[in-house]
Symmetry: C2
Subunit: 462 residues, 2 copies
């Protein structure tokens, strides 16, 4: 039988510290150059050399001020602050590459759908169909206050708002300009055919939009849709909308259960189980031999900041971990932060602060593989086999060294096992990932908005 | 005496039709490729070869539906529809050039200041200080409705809102991170110094922002500030904030008066009269000889659409010009559109529809120079001398041909007269234009927010 090929995204952020905190202090780490173009175009070229499917760029619109109710450690260790806009990076990297996909994070909580739709379509045009959107809602009180709100919207309610936001976007992406609307007919003086361009008239609970999409149809129309967050409500949202889902896991059994649940939600929404590609966050430290990999790991550990990792986690779960004693179980609290992460890293799952610090030895909370290329390839294959995952979001440690190591050492090993592509497929990001067309498949709810006149009566959220 | 050197921006838009409508139908015009990266990176390189100061990219967040209360002609002639996001172009062009500035338009009416500040700072970092922001407020009802508003804010009130928006941005750009806040001290594990990063606490009439700027200080901090719109209220705004002002004029005398008024407003706001560079929109058709230039003009005229120009103007002034007879004077009406344009092109200034159609022979409303390199250089020099203008925003006609013609023919002529630089100055866009530092000068009101603790009591709008 042909083996499932592993998908790979590089997981990154337009910031110094992202996941594995503290490693910016390593002499070979270049993350402090994140504010230069060359840093990003060189990274994009490196990833394309390694045939990575995508560069996934996380984002946050607030600051991490939960730990000690202070910004001190956040600034000292550059824990996702400064954090620059990820969308501004894409056109330069698209110009430096031909195949690499770009999964950009943009929160729908603070931007009108009409303008975000335009940004994403513009980038999908410029990259010739290589853009994915990681759909997030805000979860930081600090972001809400910076954006002029008293408080953020409550967790489950944010997903209701997101459902409607997506509906508006589908209308703009899929319904406003018909196929064939753009004629470019110079002799007949008809750039576009007015009969095939339609006004969106959306009057919903959260949004009111009356207008035409400002962009002509881009290669994918709707960019490839990514989502993270696997709370019950989050999974329901993912099952309906997402084509790529990122999960955070520690043990194959729990990850397999998350994968199963997301696929079940897709099926419940009328989509095939494999309409969603599942990626798990992972850190890899690889060297030609196991001994060298262990040495490298030990060297990296000297620069990492487990405490910075806990400060990051404090904001992710809305709980100040500085207030806990080392062996105190972390009490789960219902907060307005990331529900799925809060459930994963609290006492119900057996976590104390001591265990969290051990888990964050490398500054981040993702599982870490350390070994030879063969050992890493074995472990990756095992994860896929045991969990039904489709691939991984690889964090950076010392950058870009850790990506270069993976590409030089692990990629050939995976290729020799038939577990990784040896060339990019043609076409847009969606075509590359699903071996189908560039547009949303008919089973996706967004496809229902292709004919605005007929679909006006249908309720996406029926 | 040393002669004043002429400043030049290429005036463009992320669209097919911009100012000179209809010319997309010309066989050599490439504007239908506006949705590709190569179109923009090649243009940027061309302009840098011509030592242009900047590429100025207009924008609009709505559609032109005033003419015949319809979108038909707008779509057929691609009159600024489709119109893609201009900010998404910048990083690719910055990567393709070293000196060219980028004046990007972004409306403050529909975006929270916290996020626009981040976008602009991100681009100023990536371009190493080459970003200008053209400050606009929305003026289209169609945009307001697409953005979920019942109606747009009234004209003068929009400027009150803009004043406060700028105040928020100055606090973020200038006050949130002190000089020296970023240490990048690896050995001491201090990326930034918490004592030098400050929270903005803004509680105004229009905006409420409590937060830290998400970006570290960029080369210019506040991007170079451009503004158009020369209504009385607009001029007051420009005198206070703008470092570059775009004006639309037809006759040297009227332009000289506009220039005088803007400089007077700057002085009234406590700034030097030359703290504002004034640019006039202009169309140039040039060929090696006058006869060839006239032939080229005649050829272009065959493809232009004066009617599309009037449809564009109808939305600019909020008056449906289709309703007018040919010799009917255009009645000035107080609308919510662009006040200064409405005053310029209505009966008070002697305009009938017939005269407007003649004015828009090339599809746009800007003055058009046709001639040999020497004639064009004479005319440009005359404009500068008679009006105290600093430079021009050159529209495109057949693109990129019209820019290449100007660069190959007019630039050397201007250089030989000492009227144009022969090399770029070093540094950021602000340094290049003002031969001073990269930051706002001390006389600019934005500079007052550099020390947030001291400036808290000062009211910018005192």
């Amino acid at each position: 039988m042909s083996r499932k090929q592993i998908l790979l995204n590089a997981f990154n952020m337009n910031s110094v510290g992202h996941i594995n905190h503290g490693l910016w202090t390593h002499p070979r780490d270049r993350s402090t150059e994140f504010n230069t173009l060359e840093y990003w175009t060189e990274l994009a070229r490196l990833l394309e050399r390694g045939l990575f499917d995508g560069l996934f760029i996380a984002d946050i619109a607030g600051v991490y001020d939960v730990y000690r109710q202070s910004l001190d450690l956040t600034l000292r260790e550059a824990i996702q602050l400064p954090v620059h806009d990820p969308l501004m990076l894409v056109s330069a990297m698209a110009g430096a590459t031909r195949h690499l996909g770009f999964g950009v994070t943009a929160s729908l909580s603070y931007e009108p759908p009409y303008l975000l739709a335009r940004r994403l379509s513009t980038l999908d045009h410029l990259s010739r169909g290589r853009v994915g959107w990681n759909i997030v809602t805000g979860y930081l009180e600090s972001a809400a206050r910076a954006l002029g709100l008293e408080h953020q919207v409550e967790h489950d309610r944010r997903y209701d708002q997101a459902d409607e936001y997506l509906e508006v976007l589908y209308k703009l992406f899929e319904g406003s300009w018909e196929d064939g609307a753009v004629l470019e007919d110079r002799a007949g003086r008809r750039y576009a055919d007015p009969a095939r361009v339609h006004k969106v008239e959306h009057h919903g609970e959260f949004y009111r939009v009356e207008g035409y999409h400002l962009c002509s149809p881009s290669p994918q129309r709707t960019p490839l849709l990514f989502q993270a967050g696997t709370s019950e409500r989050g999974r329901r949202f993912a099952g309906r909308h997402a084509e790529g889902v990122f999960i955070t896991g520690q043990h194959p059994q729990a990850v397999a259960e998350q994968v199963r649940q997301v696929r079940a939600e897709a099926v419940a929404a009328g989509r095939p189980a494999d309409a969603v590609k599942l990626f798990m966050g992972l850190t890899v430290i690889v060297a030609p031999s196991e001994a060298e990999a262990r040495d490298k790991h030990a060297e990296y550990l000297r620069y990492a900041s487990p405490e910075a990792g806990l400060a990051h986690l404090s904001s992710s779960i809305g709980i100040d971990l500085a207030a806990y004693g080392l062996d105190e179980p972390i009490r789960y609290q219902k907060t307005n932060a990331i529900e799925s992460v809060a459930r994963t890293f609290t006492a119900g799952s057996g976590w104390t602060k001591r265990k969290l610090l051990e888990q964050h030895a490398l500054g981040g909370r993702y599982p870490t593989l350390v070994g030879s290329p063969q050992q890493v390839a074995d472990a990756l294959a095992n994860w896929i086999e045991q969990t039904d995952l489709d691939g991984f979001n690889l964090t950076r440690t010392v950058t870009p060294e850790s990506y270069a190591d993976f590409i030089d050492l692990v990629v050939p090993e995976l290729q020799s096992r038939g577990l990784y592509k040896t060339a990019y497929a043609a076409g847009s990001l969606r075509e590359k990932l699903f071996a189908a067309g560039p547009r949303l498949p008919a089973s996706h709810p967004g496809a229902a908005w292709r004919d605005l006149s007929r679909s006006a009566e249908r309720a996406l959220r029926a």
